[in-house]
Symmetry: D2
Subunit: 285 residues, 4 copies
């Protein structure tokens, strides 16, 4: 028996009868639900739902499911999506010189822990080419200078399109994407910020954390928007430090929390667990 | 508008159409679902569900809901329950001399953080009478000796029945309940064990933990069964210790984790978030 | 044998030979060191030390120790202090209406888990009088209005002085102390802020946290200075929340983390584990 | 200025004057102490100390330090050691097929986060050869069968000796070392066990954890002794799971906690932070 699943996610104005309608639709086609999550948001009065259906239990595929569901979606004014585990999302990873997030993502992908296809790595430096290519993943060197930014970001988008990428992951990429790129892929670019946002946005967050004398440092995985480090937060975590830790120690220990938070946030995204709710996110874990 | 809710919990053999049937039933009566959780357990092939429904949205009360739902329940061979937030569960607390869990539970109850009615405190010592009575809660001294156990546990059950208690909470009660008591209230007696079970069951868990040299100590809230410290686990947590901590320090720091784990486990039980799945539990948080 | 100890804390410019000099001084008087912590701070080039000495091992008391140590202290330009566990610090607690921190502190004090004497509770409301007085602790109602602040804070200081208090603890006290009070007791006023500073300083931190969509909320225990929520941080911690938590839930769950962080921070202060290092702290745990 | 340091670790019967004697010795040679930790163990009445001294501050090297310190060591009946950060410990890693710990250790070593030299990888399978060799590390395939164990473990020891290894790290090596190997390298073989010991020793700990219905799973890094999974514990940690996690999920999530606990435990060992105290450990973090 195949493990393949179809995942239906829905967000719409809250009212009575949504679950009944959707569940009856699925049951009407003998769909076997293996996971279901609901959330009624009191502050926005919106309803969020995620259903994972065993593909084999349905008499048709994802396209037919989309076609048949469209009517319900319209009736309830839904934002909705159907994704097929047999068609994993395609991921483009952006890095600079730091390799800890890249090593982690490539390992999780290779060992099947991240349900995706890594279609390429883009970097403004050459340092991580050999490691990337050992994994059989194309490596693209796109240098970014003060004067070539328009070209560089165009090239980036071109690589993204040509590779058929669904998601762009900034895995400690040390350049700020242009507003154009941010607008082009809304809700499809993930970043890892090396601080517990909203504390210490911007540059040198570990130095900022050290100067303020905090007792925990953190990392934040968020969607990228035009406002630097202000996008909707997907996942965060922290670790304890103390007075004996210098800035270099924070950088060092921070790597652990950065890679964990990024890989969790990315996994939630790849598994369609993240639904945007205005500036906040619903994360069905 | 009232915040009162009815909570419907269900456990039954898994099959297609359960959610559709239950959700349609609720929606058919215009029931407004504020929280819903599902779980399909692959290992036991059972399905678990919890629905919280706004009382005001239904045209009838909890008794009518039970009456009308009975047919569906029978069709799907459900273990099921409806509870009404307007009728909070009645809790009897058992203590010995240690007061940290009692202080915590009484405070959470008084400040409305634990949805229950504390109907009494039973102790085999007199020490905690004044504190209990200051809160307006009846205190029952039931001494337990080598020779009076049958009488003592009969008295305990009598107090429980007379107070109309639904739940018995062993808040660091240092006596082992008789098998008769355990069998009388299955799934209705909660205990806090001061170790991360299954490590260090039985007496002096902190001494055992110290001797083994573990780097974390924990606490476990579980249902009481006839097998000492073997009942289904509801909640657990741990804290870090190190070589500088003597047994007395473990006892000291352990209090914090004990009261947190107990209050969380009890809250899950009071809010009908815990469903037994054989020897394990489903906890819809 | 008595458990009494003398604690010597020292902070001075770093150089070779400090430990040798201090340890030789203590050993020269047959002092038995039960705990010792050192820290050399590279960024400020200062050295920090804490030695706990068994009182009975010394041929003299705390006054004589101070007298004899003064020479070394001068030689190394030390900020230093000797405190005697037989003379516990005297604590004045400030509260408003929320009782969770007060209940926790009084319980820890009564059960011997916090080495201090609680000399009084001051509040701008009457709500917590009965609970405080049940513990045999004097309760002072000092109302604060738009127009009586000068009088109110004078009265507060008067109560502090008359009670011979060493430490003032703001246990969810909802008034901002005047600059005069802050300056009068530098490093002797502790506050619990219900957010993970520097995020969400100021009013309504839980609402701010909700609006930003963070995935963890926290609390911060810090020394009070004239700059609101900017004082040196002693202790912090966080707990995980998710999209299903409304602001009221954050307030609710936050109580747990507030009382833990406050009681830990206060214990560190009472045990002379906290040494100020400019705007940061050294906390010898 | 060089960052090189000498680390002096000491364990001896506790008495007055040890710190004074050692600190005076170091200061007498103008040694600059950058880190110092002490612990007096009340249960064994032993004293433990770790001093990190800047190499450049001493007028001589590690050999001369050892020579001169020997007299003090004898006087106080010390177990002691001096190690030189300029001579990093040599590590031999043992693996089977699972690569998550190996990937993590090689990455930390390459990026300078683990102060050691990885001198080789030994495996009873060929799977991880290419990845290991890409890092320029020799890979040794030593198959283990029911009948060749004596030969296999002899070969292992031979590789260890020839490589001049100081530490053997079982990074999810799925064979049980013979008692001879265990006895040959006491306190020099580290293992990662994929459970929170003493719970779930032996085989299939995740299945055991699932069957018992625990709410947290963990990992334990410990020294290997002849008693399987009973050696002194260096480091442990846990992560939260819930009813929705199948055994495969525990295996999956467990990888994260395994690699973290192993790398922390190994780092503590490499930095001479771990001192054995009978069956327990002192870990100066």
């Amino acid at each position: 028996m195949s493990d393949a699943t179809l995942t239906l996610t829905v967000s719409c104005p809250d009212r009575v009868g949504i679950v009944a309608r959707v569940a009856s639709f699925i049951a009407g086609h003998r769909g076997w639900i293996t996971e279901a999550n609901h959330h009624s948001d009191a502050s926005t009065q919106r309803f969020f739902m995620r259903n994972v259906i065993r593909s084999e239990s349905l008499p048709f595929g994802s396209d037919a499911l989309r076609e048949r569901f469209a009517e319900i979606a319209e009736e309830f004014a839904m934002d909705w999506n159907v994704s097929d585990s047999a068609v994993p999302k395609r991921v483009l990873i952006l890095v600079s010189k730091a390799d800890h997030c890249l090593v982690d993502l490539l390992h999780r992908w290779r060992s099947g822990d991240l349900p995706c296809t890594v279609v390429g790595v883009v970097s403004n430096h050459e340092d991580l080419r050999a490691y990337t290519e050992w994994h059989g993943v194309p490596f693209h060197h796109v240098p970014v200078t003060q004067t070539n930014k328009a070209w560089a970001f165009d090239t980036l988008c071109e690589i993204h399109e040509r590779a058929g990428a669904d998601v762009m992951v900034l895995a400690r990429y040390m350049q700020i994407l242009s507003p154009e790129v941010c607008r082009r892929y809304p809700g499809r670019i993930l970043n890892i910020h090396h601080a517990f946002l909203p504390s210490f946005a911007g540059a040198s967050p570990y130095q900022q954390a050290f100067d303020r004398g905090v007792k925990l440092i953190g990392a934040t995985c968020h969607y990228v928007t035009e406002q630097l480090d202000q996008g909707p937060i997907i996942e965060q975590d922290v670790i304890r430090i103390d007075h004996s830790d210098a800035v270099a120690d924070l950088v060092h220990y921070g790597k652990d929390i950065e890679r964990q938070v990024l890989s969790r946030g990315l996994r939630y995204h790849l598994e369609d667990r993240v639904l945007q709710n205005g500036h906040r996110t619903v994360v069905f874990r």
